[in-house]
């Protein structure tokens, strides 16, 4: 793979410069093997569009979102305020992230704690770059393929961002097919509310298996996601349905990076 150009905020500071935007990688994007690929794909696109971006690197810490949804308000606010201190210290104005959970908490829960930034989901930012003509997508690889997009709860229902990921996907020249429940009524993948980190309660089915069923009903070649956790959940769901050789699960950034 070609070398990625990634510069830390510390390096920008040393040069006395400000980046156009800060890429908030998030814990999953930094450590989870599957999600790291999404971070890399996104950076590949940023490099391609010549975006002058920074990351916090080792100065970034968990947003605290998952602690908050687990009920630990104390841990959440500790994390949030430490992050805000770092972000404010660097005078960050604009942030982009591939994780809707980070997106949501920074957008909605950080301001009251003193963190006021403009935050974008990566699909929104990619759309912005493409609209501005900074990022060109050839749209060859996935031409004619059937793609269905799974709305992440914390991007869609929670923050009413429905169009950006779909518009970004259009650039791949694939055929977009919608699941029966989509946008406001999309079914959760099962990962939110800290479920990602625990076994589900007793029931008769796993939520991700049910959601993957929704997706499979559209007869897709690819399930597109916009969240690292959804990605894991849908990938596991595909395995449960034994469809791994027919259907792949890819993030919108990965789809665009390979188009």
């Amino acid at each position: 793979m070609s070398e990625l150009k990634v510069k830390t905020m510390e390096a920008f500071m040393a040069e006395g410069k400000q980046p156009e935007i800060l890429f908030w990688v998030g814990s999953a994007g930094s450590f989870d093997d599957r999600a790291k690929k999404i971070s890399r794909a996104f950076v590949k696109l940023l490099n391609k569009a010549n975006v002058d971006f920074a990351v916090l690197g080792t100065e970034e810490s968990c947003t605290g979102d998952v602690a908050k949804r687990a009920g630990n308000e104390f841990l959440f606010q500790m994390q949030a305020m430490m992050n805000i201190e770092v972000l404010n210290g660097y005078e960050i104005k604009r942030i982009v992230t591939c994780d809707p959970h980070s997106f949501n908490t920074i957008k909605n829960e950080y301001p009251e704690l003193g963190g006021n930034y403009e935050i974008l989901h990566h699909t929104q930012y990619l759309k912005e770059l493409m609209d501005a003509g900074r990022l060109q997508i050839e749209g060859e690889t996935f031409k004619g393929k059937r793609i269905t997009f799974h709305d992440p709860c914390y991007l869609g229902r929670a923050n009413s961002v429905f169009e950006a990921p779909r518009q970004a996907l259009e650039k791949t020249n694939a055929t977009l097919v919608e699941m029966k429940r989509h946008k406001r009524t999309a079914l959760c993948c099962g990962a939110g509310g800290a479920q990602m980190f625990k076994e589900p309660e007793k029931g008769d089915m796993d939520i991700n298996v049910m959601r993957t069923q929704d997706a499979l009903e559209t007869n897709p070649d690819i399930i597109a996601t916009g969240c690292p956790y959804c990605n894991t959940m849908m990938t596991d769901g595909i395995k449960a349905h034994e469809k791994e050789d027919k259907v792949t699960v890819l993030d919108v950034a990965e789809l665009l990076a390979n188009s």
């Binding site: 308000e73 500790m78 949501n104 957008k107 509310g193 029931g203």
Partner: protein
């Protein structure tokens, strides 16, 4: 003697309204047991929500069949109430059809009431079939056993009987008008009841008068009974849907509230210059408890939510946990909250407004931990609710109590949280490796 009916009517009316007022007082008191919450923001948007969601029923039509039927019953209910005004004036003054001088307008009104009454009957029958014959999944959940199921059907029976009485009264009136009976001046149009009147062919004037009076009395007494039934029923939503949609969420659904008491504490901990022995500031007084284990730990909007819930189950129907067989049902969260609040209220009534510890609480005695931990915080329930109820906020407050007061999170979550504490990520990776992904 001739004034006897008027007096009797006034007594019945005053008694009914008095009892209703008493229960409204109880309702207010119970809702105010909740903690205070500031809802003075976004006035304009709140009014708009109320008009759109409660008055305009915008969320009902998401499910077109139920939505249409509901709108018919709702419009019918509101409009036919104009007729109740006439009935009350007639009852008090001893007049008969006091609005009759309106002439053509009156004919139009009575005619439309009749058509609406007929449509309401059709809708109510359809609703009954949905509940009892088609057996829709959402009406069969465990929390619907017993009273909730009976309540749902009772409401339909009462509405049916009221409409039939209204039409019978009109039919008899129409027949009396045809016969030129004294007092029964020709007034009104009877597009529906004229067919019922055919069944009364051949009845004497005196028996028709008895029939008309009986239907008139039963109808108005029935309405007053229904008014007083509301407090004990899920049907309370016809009143509370309005304030509830007004006070409902006006921020993005993903925004969960930050606990202010925690903010003060965290600031102190992170501030290297803070004097650890300084007396805490007045406004940062430590709350007696974090999160909620009982109804009085919730805020009053959440308690208003509980009384507003009409048990339609749209939330539960959309809940991913419930759909996959978990115990969690957001409707049950709301029903449990109301039941417990009623229990607390009754406890207070018994002892002049003092609450005597009954050894019970909302947590465990009503809502189990298993339910609380099954939630994915996906907001599907909040999105689905036609009257802006937020079951998720109660689930979150109770989780907060479990974690912050009892350290009773599932083990895996405790591991996840100590990872965040120790190395800034929910997994056990070293913070110093955060940028390794670039070169992998």
């Amino acid at each position: 003697m001739t004034y006897l009916p008027n007096v009797l009517f006034a007594v019945v009316l005053i008694a009914a309204i008095g009892y209703f007022a008493k229960n409204v007082g109880r309702l207010r008191r119970n809702i105010n047991l909740g903690k205070d919450v500031d809802v003075s923001d976004n006035r304009k948007e709140r009014w708009q929500n109320m008009v759109r969601i409660a008055l305009g029923q915008s969320k009902m039509v998401v499910r077109p069949v139920a939505g249409l039927l509901h709108i018919i019953v709702y419009v019918g209910f509101i409009i036919i109430n104009i007729e109740v005004l006439e009935i009350i004036i007639d009852g008090l003054l001893g007049t008969h059809r006091v609005f009759a001088p309106l002439g053509a307008a009156y004919d139009f009104l009575i005619g439309s009431f009749e058509i609406l009454a007929f449509l309401v009957i059709v809708s109510v029958v359809a609703f009954w079939i949905r509940r009892n014959v088609i057996k829709l999944r959402r009406f069969l959940k465990p929390e619907m056993k017993g009273w909730p199921k009976k309540d749902g059907n009772l409401i339909l029976y009462i509405e049916l009987v009221l409409m039939l009485l209204f039409l019978t009264m009109n039919a008899a009136d129409y027949q009396l008008q045809q016969l030129g009976a004294e007092h029964y001046t020709k007034a009104g149009a009877f597009p529906v009841s004229q067919f019922m009147a055919q069944l009364m062919e051949g009845m004497s004037i005196s028996s028709l008068v008895i029939l008309e009076r009986a239907a008139w009395w039963l109808h108005i007494v029935g309405i007053l009974f229904f008014l007083n039934y509301l407090y004990f029923s899920k049907h309370l939503h016809i009143l509370l849907a309005f304030p509830n949609t007004f006070y409902g969420r006006v921020t993005p659904k993903g925004k969960f509230k930050n606990l202010e008491a925690v903010t003060a504490e965290v600031k102190l901990m992170l501030d290297p210059n803070a004097d650890p022995f300084a007396a805490p500031a007045e406004d940062a007084a430590e709350p007696d408890k974090f999160g909620a284990s009982d109804v009085r730990d919730l805020n009053w909007v959440q308690l208003l939510n509980a009384y507003t819930c009409t048990e339609c189950g749209r939330c539960t129907d959309e809940c991913p946990a419930n759909q996959t067989g978990k115990k969690l049902s957001p409707r049950k969260i709301m029903m449990d909250t109301r039941d417990r609040l009623e229990e607390v209220g009754k406890n207070m009534d018994q002892d002049k407004g003092e609450f005597k510890d009954d050894g019970k609480q909302l947590l465990d005695d009503y809502i189990t931990r298993e339910e609380l931990w099954a939630c994915t915080t996906c907001n599907a329930c909040v999105e689905a609710c036609p009257v802006s109820i937020d079951p998720l906020s109660i689930i979150m407050d109770m989780r907060q109590y479990l974690v912050m007061e009892q350290s009773a999170a599932p083990t895996e979550l405790n591991n996840m949280m100590s990872n965040i504490e120790n190395n800034g990520a929910p997994w056990p990776y070293n913070q110093m490796d955060r940028l390794n992904w670039v070169n992998e």
